[in-house]
Amino acid sequence: MQLDRTRIVIREREFSDVLDLSLQVIRRYAGPLAIALLVGIAPLFALNCYLLSGLVDPHTLDSEGPWPFVWMVLILVVWEIPLATAPATLFLGRALFENQPSVGKVAMDFLKSLPQLIIYQVLFRALLVAPVLPWPWLFTQRAYLNEVILLERNPMFRGRKRGPSTGSRCQALHWGWGGDLFARWLGAIAMGAVMVGLSWSILAKGNEALVSELEWQSLWETRFFHLALWGAIGFFTVVRFLSYLDLRIRREGWEVELILRAEAARLDRDAGLGQSAVRRPGGTP
C-alpha cells in the first residue's frame, strides 16, 4: 500500500467536481459497487415492500394518489440509508488504497462496526428520522457519521488510551462546517429529486408500453419508485464518501498527512536497507 498513490486523487474539490468524480468512480468499480449496494439494499427493499404492502392496494392508490405511499417510503428509506449503504462505503474505503479489496475483509469490517451502526444509525437515528424536523441537523451535523463509524472506527466511549469516542469525533469533524454542509445537502436534495423523478418516469413510461392493465400498472409504479429512490441513494453513497474525504482534506489536511506518512515510511524503509533518503552531495539518490 502506497499512501501517496491512492486510487482516487486526494485533493480539495468543489461539490460539482465531487459529483463528476463520482461518475468516474462508479465506472471504475461498477461491478463490486453494484454487488455491495445490492447486498445492503436488497433486504431493506424487501422489508419495505412487506411493511408497505397495505398502502400499495390499487384502489387506495387510485383514490388517494401515490403521495401517502411516497412519503412513507421516504421516511423508511431515510432511516435505512446508513445500514443499506454500509457495505458500499466499506468497499470504497478499502478501494481507495487497495487494488482489489477482499470481500472477507469488507465483511469483517462490517461486523466490527455493526454494534455502533445499530446503536447510532438504527436506534438513535429512528428517533430523529420519525419526526422529520431534525432532518437538516441529521444531514449537516451528522452527515458523515456513517463514514466515521465504518472507516475510522473510534470507540463507543472516550478513553485515555483509546482516543475520542465516535460521538466526539463526529462532532469535531462537522463543527464549524454546518453552512457548507447544509448548502451541499440542499444541492444533493435538488439533484436527487430530479434523478428520482426522471428515473421513476422512465421506468413507469417503459412499463406502460408493456403492461396494459391499470391495477398492475399502479402496483408496478410503486415498485419503480423504490427502485428509482435506491438508485439515487446508490449514486449519492459514492458522492457522500468523496465528500467525506473532501471535508477531511479541507478541515484536517488529510492529503498532507498521507504524503508525510508515505515519506516517513520511505525513510524507515531506507533506514532498514541501510540507504539514505537524505542524499549527500555526489552520492546516489
Binding site: 486523487v9 468524480l21 468516474q24 475510522e152 472506527r153 469535531a172 422512465i202 484536517e252 516517513a264 515510511a265
Partner: protein, 309 residues
Amino acid sequence: MDTQDRQLDTRIEVITPENIAFRYRVAGPFRRLPAFLIDVVIQLVAAIIIQLVLFFVFDFVGLLGIGIGLYLIFFFILMWFYGGLFEALWNGQTPGKRIMGIRVLSIDGKAIDAIQATLRNVLRIADFQPVLPVPIGPFIFPVPCCLLGLVTASFNDRFQRLGDLACGTMVVVESRPGLRDVMRIDDREALRLADQIPAYFVPSRTLARALATYVGRRWAFSPGRRQHIASHLAGPLYDRLGLPPNTDPDQLLCAVYYRTFIADRQEEGTAETALPAVGRQSGVWGNTFDVAEPTAMDIFTSVNTGRRV
C-alpha cells in the same frame, strides 16, 4: 500506465504534437449543468423580449402575421444556433460557460472551429434523450431526461457527451494555477534549528515535495493538528539529523524546509532545480515503492486527536 492503475481524477493530460504536456481539469455533466441552465434562461429572456418587440411593432403597422413569422425564424435560430454562434465567436464559450469559467476545446488542446461549435450544439438534441411528455395543467411539456448524454459522458475520461464525441471536443475548467512562491519561515526557533542541520544534508526529491506540501498548507491547521501531522515525518528525521527526539515536529519540518528551499539557495545564489509547486499534485512523485505497514482502516483512524481545528 494500466487503466486500472491510473488514479481517478477529473484532470487529464493532453500531449501536443510538439510533445508538450498540458494538464486540464475537465468539466463533467454536473459542472456543466449550471452553465447550461444560465444559457437556457438567457435564451428564454431573449425570446420573450424579441417576441414583445416584434409583436408590438408589427401589430402597430398592421402586419402582425409577418411579425409572427419573423419571430418563429428568430426563435428557431436562437434555439438551434445560440450555442454554436457564441462558441465560435467567443473561443469556445457561451455566456453561461463564461460565467461558470468553463470552455470548449478540441481534444488535442486547440481552440474549436465554427463547424465543431455548431455541430456539437446541434447534436445536443441526441444527448437530451429520452424526452418525456409531462402534463402540467392543460399543457404537455417535453422534459429532456438527458440520460443518453449522462451515460455517454460517464463512459469516458473526458466526460464527452455524444456531441463532443462526434466533434472531437471536450469542456475544460479555466484555471490559472501558478507556482506559489517559496513560503517565508519567520519562526526563530525553526531558523535556529535550521542552523543545527548537518551541512551535508540534501533531501531527496520526494522528501522535498513532502516538505513543500506541508509548509504550504500548515497555515490552515491548528497548532495541535500541525504537531500531529508533522510528527509522522519528524520521527525518522530526528536520527538522521542528529536532533533530540523532543524537538518540536512542526518547527523541525519548517527548519528542514528552510534549509532546503531558502538557506541553501541563498548560499548557492541560484536555483538549480525547479521548486515543487506547493499544493499541486503532479501525479508523478519520483521513485516510489510499496509500503506494507498500515492497513486501510488504520489510515482512516489517523486523526484521533478529537481537537477542533
